[in-house]
Symmetry: C2
Subunit: 420 residues, 2 copies
């Protein structure tokens, strides 16, 4: 059993976690349950898409050569021979000088290679609306392919349309629906067990007496884990007592793919968390801290192949660890390839309202409150106050990061605020 | 029954919808089901929070006057009289020259007004670890309030902690948990009925023949509506046949707070949608188009007090209408106050890679694909291609908006891309 109490891992070492804990297995889910999941297979089109040359507009399908040079001043006249219904496969072939009326989405008959919009045509006196036959005046020239989606233009049969590793959003669901993928292979959602430790904690429905506080982390961590895609199971409040904690961790490890403990940042409570992890079968403490602040006293370990993380008890600190470490890690477990890529964080640019000092050697996260200003970037005010207070959390709109190699950031600097 | 076939409403007129259709009633939900909902009541603290003066650090609680001027060169020596457990209400009162050991979160005894961190102290030779008594050398001065969260500093009893209209996120859940709000009043989630119209449509599990296409919108619109907070019920595919459509719309209106139809942009299909809305009890067509492109042929109506919206059939067009109109409207129905405020859209800045032309009098949305560049803003490439193609949707990362009063945007302009 490896044990180095002073190991504090830097952000770069988070990548090590990804090698230690590979993504979960995959499962087959229906198209309407695939949103937010990561595709685990390559999807290929089963047929050409579109299936035929289709019109993008309401208008008249024709041979572009028949409308060569047409204009309002010099219209051409074509013989409309009907209006195939939108869902018909028109068996006819247009003869020179003929056209058909066509609706958006309709398939072009043989001999037609362009569609002139209805707005650029006029029906002549011989027009029969019921049969959709008669003479059509065309007032605009057409090039081959005008207003036509070509057969296979979206995808030819056998073409790869989605690669493994793609996150499924509305676009991918749309493509999947169009090509008939009623279900697909995706990575499983991690089951995450959450427990809070501390003799001072009481459940939300209880009224604390002096010395007690309600258990906030069980709720905020569960919400954040769910938002990252996890299936959450709560194990409630465990007292600061080694046998209870060891037993609850054992149960949580057996039932989950990741276990999160949050306890006070107190030295004694951290020792207890380490002890509860080390007491599990085939256990190892991987790190006794992370080089981010707040959040430094985070413990990373494993019990068998199950990762176990001990988060600080202070709500705001625990939340920063969730954002920087745990939520990306949950993303990784469900197959997200760029889980720890900080460049994909949603940010808003702002001007820093005052100097922010920072210690070198750790990545500092400072809570920011925006002050909106008309026609200018917002001002970013660091939210001051003790991190144990909830107001500092509620008053903040996002986080600014001060890199580990910087001593701080000056007033008036242009900064990216991570809008968590 | 009001009917003006040429009414095309501009973005500004969306506000009119908000007056016509007020937010839904409220319901009581448990704290863990409140995320994403809009609070419908004012929440006041039931007691001071924190309940007592609490320590932010592991260390020693003392009277700041006893550590006046202390430093490494000139330490002071205090008599530690014990270590109340973190969940205890210490009944003792410190005498001058005394201190107690305190854990993070612990309550200060009477007579103490500051905490010195353990790192700035040394235990002397008489120290008894089990009793936590003995002499403590204090190497740093303390001001009153140092490392202490004051009683009521977060909230005094009776103080408003959350106002109605607040969107519940992890911050508000945390505050709610700390103050014991096990449930809260929130606006109801809108029930949204979705149906697709078109003889050419087949369900995803079917293989289309030439002329047919799979029903994509039922899936993409449902996903977007859910993401906006709706409870979605699907009514499948309805053929282009007035009695069927009228009957299905009637059922959907009876069972939902909002009904979405999507059908071809074909003139005939639009007429059918208008007809199906007008055939309902106490029905009215509110607008026959919206001044956004794509999406112009959108129909807005009501059947009794239930809004009914007819969206274009083309997937990409329907999706733009969802983003600009329907998703904000769903937000409004569940109490979101700034539903149509375009300034809160998530955006990413980029440099436009080519000129984009636009018609005046309508708001144009152009699909954008980012080209990442090291240490520069990304290039924004307009995604070209027919809007009926799915590739143009899948290849895009976001939307740029060209305002109704602009004729276009020039290459090299700094633009905001809405990262939908």
């Amino acid at each position: 059993m490896h044990h180095d109490f002073f190991t504090i891992i830097a952000r770069e070492a988070f990548e090590e976690l990804l090698r230690t804990f590979p993504p979960l297995p995959t499962e087959r889910v229906g198209l309407d349950r695939a949103e937010g999941r990561i595709l685990a297979e390559q999807l290929r089109a089963g047929h050409d898409w579109p299936l035929s040359h289709r019109s993008c507009m309401d208008g008249y399908a024709l041979d572009a050569r028949d409308a060569f040079g047409a204009s309002e001043q010099n219209p051409v006249y074509l013989d409309c021979v009907g209006a195939p219904h939108v869902d018909e496969n028109p068996g006819m072939t247009l003869a020179p000088g003929q056209c058909v009326r066509i609706a958006t989405g309709g398939s072009l008959p043989k001999g037609a290679d362009a569609v002139v919009m209805v707005e650029h045509t006029v029906c002549m006196d011989d027009w029969d609306e019921d049969a959709a036959t008669g003479t059509i005046e065309v007032r605009k020239a057409a090039a081959p392919g005008l207003n036509v989606m070509q057969r296979g233009e979206d995808a030819l049969a056998g073409a790869v349309v989605l690669e493994p590793g793609t996150r499924i959003g509305f676009r991918e669901v749309g493509l999947g629906a169009a090509l008939g993928f009623t279900e697909m292979d995706v990575f499983c959602r991690p089951r995450v067990g959450i427990l809070s430790t501390g003799d001072e904690l009481v459940a939300v429905e209880h009224t604390p007496r002096v010395g007690q506080v309600r258990d906030v982390n069980s709720h905020t961590l569960a919400l954040s884990a769910r938002r990252a895609g996890a299936l959450v199971r709560g194990y409630g409040i465990v007292p600061d007592d080694a046998p209870s904690l060891i037993a609850t961790v054992q149960q949580a490890v057996a039932e989950n793919d990741l276990v999160l403990l949050s306890g006070g940042s107190s030295i004694g409570v951290r020792d207890l968390t380490v002890q509860a992890i080390e007491a599990q079968n085939d256990a190892e403490i991987l790190a006794h801290g992370v080089a981010i602040s707040p959040g430094k006293p985070t413990i990373l370990g494993r019990a068998g192949q199950t990762p176990v993380m001990g988060l600080p008890g202070q709500v705001a600190s625990a939340q920063v660890v969730m954002f920087c470490l745990v939520m990306p890690f949950i993303g990784h477990l469900q197959g997200q390839g760029n889980a720890f890529d900080t460049t994909v964080r949603p940010v808003r640019q702002a001007i820093l309202a005052r100097n922010v000092a920072s210690k070198q050697g750790r990545e500092d996260y400072v809570r920011i409150r925006f002050e909106e200003r008309p026609h200018q970037l917002p001002l970013a005010h660091p939210v001051l106050g003790k991190s144990g207070l909830l107001r500092t959390l509620v008053d903040a709109h996002g986080l600014m990061s001060v890199p580990a190699d910087a001593e701080g950031v000056y007033k008036d600097a242009l900064i990216d605020v991570w809008t968590v």
